[in-house]
Structures are given as structure tokens and as C-alpha cells.
């Protein structure tokens, strides 16, 4: 049986799942994990290069989710997903900060893209995802935060301990990089 379903085979609502997890129900915890783990892995995988590191981040993120779920207040559909995603992004950023200060990474971000990308005529959505992962660390972090996850430049500056202007310039360079890659592979033509 699908682990995200309850014993009657009906998928539990986010609200119900939240409540059960707040009561430390083990089955509900497992259900929540099964429901969001893959998605959250892909969120973290956008920020972090190595899969093993991503697993660590996902594990730490979910531990925080379960230990702090009593503080979470359900505010409608998608709020649980959003809350978990925020935790995962914060965990990813924390990991990046520990490994290599992002400010340094941003300074060193002007590097050449290694041409290892394999592609045919048309990139699919998954190739777009892969392109983001191919960005240098500093660019990738800012691009992910601003474009995909909806942070403002002020928030990015606070999180990464850089100035807003640095964030803006990194975003601009990230876009340029992506444009180059898109052009190189001749994809997403207008």
C-alpha cells in the first residue's frame, strides 16, 4: 500500500497529517516523509552539488521538521509544504556556509562552465533543472533563492551575509551564464 495513504487507502489531508505529526504519530511522520522527501531532495539538490551531502541536508531538515512541528500553524493548503521547503532551503544554505563561506564562493564564481552537458535538440524541463545545478556555487545559490524560491535581494543579502548589490550582480551573472548555456545548446528558442 502507498505509504502516503491511511489504512483506508485515502490520502490524508495536509491538515490532518500535520495534526497527527504534532501528536508524534509515527505512521504520520512516515507518511509526511514519503509525501515530501523526493520533492525536498530536489529542492536541496538545486543548491548542493553532491548527492551524499544532499542526503545529509535532507535528513537534518526533516529532523528539524519533526522536532519543531508543534510550532507550525496550519494556514491552509500548501502551507505545510511551504514551511518544510523553507526549512530545507535554510538547511541547504547552512550547509553551504559551513563548507565554504558563500561570500567567498560568490567572489570566486566567475569561472568557466565545464562543457559536460549532454543534450539533443530540445531541452526538457529536467534539463533546465540540470542547467541550474551546473551554475557555479555563488551564482546558483542566488539564482535559486531569487528566481525559484522567491526571496528578495534583501533577504538573500541577510542570509548570505553579502550586500544587496552583490546579490543583484550575482543574479545578473547567473542569468548571463544560463543564457550562454541555453544558446550553446540551442534550446528554448522563442
Amino acid at each position: 500500500m502507498d505509504r502516503t495513504l491511511n489504512h483506508t487507502g485515502i490520502e490524508l489531508s495536509e491538515e490532518r497529517l500535520t495534526r497527527l505529526c504534532q501528536q508524534t504519530d509515527e505512521k504520520a511522520q512516515r507518511m509526511l516523509y514519503d509525501r515530501y522527501a523526493n520533492q525536498m531532495f530536489r529542492v536541496c539538490y538545486r543548491y548542493i552539488k553532491r548527492e551524499e551531502d544532499t542526503e545529509d541536508v535532507v535528513a537534518n531538515g526533516f529532523i528539524k521538521v519533526f522536532l519543531n512541528i508543534n510550532r507550525f500553524e496550519y494556514r491552509g493548503k500548501g502551507s505545510l509544504n511551504g514551511w518544510i521547503k523553507r526549512i530545507m532551503i535554510n538547511e541547504s544554505l547552512m550547509f553551504l556556509r559551513k563548507r565554504n563561506p558563500l561570500s567567498q564562493a560568490i567572489d570566486a564564481a566567475d569561472v568557466q562552465i565545464k562543457d559536460t552537458f549532454q543534450c539533443d535538440q530540445e531541452l526538457l524541463a529536467q534539463d533546465i533543472y540540470k542547467l541550474v545545478r551546473k551554475l557555479p556555487k555563488g551564482y546558483r545559490t542566488v539564482f535559486n533563492m531569487y528566481v525559484i524560491d522567491g526571496y528578495t535581494h534583501r533577504e538573500i543579502a541577510d542570509h548570505l551575509n553579502v550586500s544587496e548589490n552583490t546579490s543583484k550582480s550575482q543574479l545578473s551573472k547567473a542569468r548571463a551564464h544560463l543564457r550562454k548555456m541555453l544558446e550553446k545548446y540551442g534550446i528554448k528558442n522563442e
Binding site: 544560463l178 528554448k188 528558442n189
Partner: protein, 310 residues
């Protein structure tokens, strides 16, 4: 061409496609999902265990204390029913039919027996159902009488105790025991050891407390992870009160107590769990009786049966 894309269009393209991949798992990535879950599970169990362990240790200590205290007090609690005749004899007023229940706190009296050099404390809890003579004033009269009767009866009990019980020196002992238990959560067999301490020992009656630890091999059907038929271990501490009496050549023994599962290699049982049990001797050293297993926070209760050989 892509280079002609403005920022807005570029952002939209990436946002849409990346979110699509995330939401619909549009990219296949091999990752150790199960392994990560086990790490999460272990971490949250450990994180929650600290404060809960304190609560459970306290609960267990309180349970054991209550158990011992209640067992000791049981012998001394007497239910006194004042008869109508007594009241009539001591009062001139006609009886007013009224049932009243009076529960007074236990009283303690010290009685010294110079011959045996013994001082015995007697606790008497008074629960009384009686008829009083008149409303209001009758209660006072009865209560006054009861204080006196308590003293009388207290002395009476002690005299009787002194005659019937030949007290022996309490002693300690070591014991090995084995057991089997089956409840709604798991089945398991255990072996362990502990110490016994006599609280009261006479020719007729022995009361003792047992403190021990044991290891239990358990199987939680449908719950155990890993190898399907693998037996898991649970580490348990136990406190029990035991009573055995022998009258007219017949021996009767019973035991009641609490077990506390400290740790288990089976995740489904790896929780602070409390088990209460009551067993009665059936043949020789074999005891059998019911048990109740509580999960943490007493959310779930699993009744079962336990067998002990000690």
C-alpha cells in the same frame, strides 16, 4: 534565440520547469531514501528520549513506591462498621436513620512490647458506614466515639499480630528468573536477575520487594524492521512486590509490579514503555497472570499475559 530572452521570460522559464521537476519528480535521482529515513527516525527518537526518560523514570519510581506503600498498608487497613447496637448502647436518644460515610486519615500508633523489644507501628484508615442518632449532633458523637474505638481496636490488632506473627530478621537475596510475555505489541521471552529484600518475614507470611533487570528477546509481528524473522532485544528494569503466605500446608503467592523497557533494537518497541503486571503462583515457582503494556504518554494500551519462573 535564447540570448534574446529578457530577464522576466528567462526567470519564468526556469521557475516553471524547475518547479515542475520538483513537484512531479520529473528527474530520476538515485538517493538513499530509506537510509535517510532511518537516520531521521533515530535522531528524533533520541532527541525526544531525554525529557521523556525523566518523566518515565519518575513515573516508575512513583509507581514502585505506591506499590510498596499500598502493599504494606493493606494489612493494616480495617473497615469498621459500627453496629446499631453499639450506638443504642451509648446513647439515650432514638436512632435517626441516616447513612453516612466517614473517611478519616490514617492514624499511627506506636506500641512497645518490652518482652520482644519491638515497637510496632499500626496504621488504621477508617472508612465507616453507620447510622447516626440525630442529624448534625449525632455525627460529632460518632466521631468522638470513633477516635476512642480506633485506639482500642488498634491495640487489639497489635495484640493479635504479636500472637500470630513470629517476626524474623529481614534479609537480602539474589535471584535469577525467566519469563514469557505476549501482548498486543509483541511476544517475547526474557531472562534476568535481580535482588530481593524481605520487608516482612514470618513462618506464615513473607513480603519482599524485587529489583532486577532482564533482557528480552522479542518479536513484534508485522512491525519489526529489517530481517523478517529476526529476533530483537529489549532491555528491561523491573520492580515488584511479592507476597507469599502459607496456611494449613497450602502456599499462596502473588506478585505485582512494573517493568520499564529502557531500550530495544526493534524500532517499534524502542520507546519508553511501562508494563504493569500481576501474577499468581500456580505450580511450584511458576507464576502466571495478566499484564498491561503502555506506550509513551499512555496513548495506547496493550493487554497481555505473562508467565514467570523464579
Amino acid at each position: 534565440m535564447a540570448s534574446k530572452m529578457n530577464n522576466k521570460k528567462l526567470d519564468e522559464t526556469f521557475r516553471k520547469d524547475v518547479k515542475h521537476v520538483q513537484k512531479h519528480n520529473g528527474i530520476h535521482i538515485f538517493w538513499n531514501k530509506e537510509g535517510v529515513w532511518k537516520r531521521i527516525q533515530k535522531a528524533i527518537t533520541e532527541a525526544g528520549a531525554g525529557p521523556k526518560m525523566i518523566v518515565w523514570y519518575t513515573t516508575m519510581a512513583a509507581s514502585a513506591s505506591l506499590l510498596v506503600a499500598a502493599s504494606l498498608s493493606l494489612e493494616d487497613i480495617k473497615f469498621n462498621f459500627n453496629s446499631d447496637q453499639e450506638i443504642t448502647e451509648n446513647a439515650s436518644a432514638p436512632i435517626y436513620n441516616e447513612a453516612s460515610l466517614a473517611i478519616t486519615p490514617p492514624t499511627v500508633s506506636n506500641n512497645y512490647f518490652p518482652i520482644d523489644n519491638l515497637t510496632i507501628k499500626s496504621r488504621i484508615a477508617n472508612i465507616k458506614l453507620s447510622r447516626s442518632q440525630q442529624r448534625n449532633i449525632a455525627i460529632d458523637q460518632i466521631l468522638t466515639r470513633r477516635v476512642k474505638s480506633q485506639v482500642d481496636q488498634g491495640s487489639l490488632i497489635l495484640k493479635r499480630s504479636r500472637n500470630s506473627i513470629n517476626l524474623r530478621q529481614p534479609s537480602f537475596g539474589v535471584r535469577f528468573e525467566g519469563g514469557f510475555s505476549a501482548n498486543g505489541r509483541y511476544v517475547g521471552s526474557s531472562f534476568g536477575f535481580g535482588v530481593t529484600m524481605d520487608l516482612l518475614k514470618s513462618e506464615e507470611i513473607t513480603k519482599k520487594i524485587y529489583l532486577g533487570s532482564s533482557m528480552q528477546l522479542i518479536k513484534a509481528p508485522g512491525r519489526s524492521e529489517g530481517y523478517n524473522n529476526a529476533l530483537k532485544k529489549a532491555y528491561i528494569v523491573k520492580a515488584a512486590f511479592e507476597n507469599s503466605s502459607s496456611r494449613n500446608g497450602k502456599t499462596a503467592a502473588w506478585s505485582s509490579g512494573a517493568e520499564f523497557i529502557l531500550h530495544s533494537t526493534d524500532h517499534s518497541v524502542n520507546k519508553p514503555m511501562l508494563k504493569l503486571f500481576y501474577t499468581r503462583g500456580i505450580i511450584g515457582k511458576l507464576k502466571v497472570g495478566p499484564e498491561v503494556l503502555f506506550t509513551r504518554n499512555f496513548k495506547k494500551v496493550y493487554p497481555g499475559i505473562t508467565l514467570a519462573l523464579s
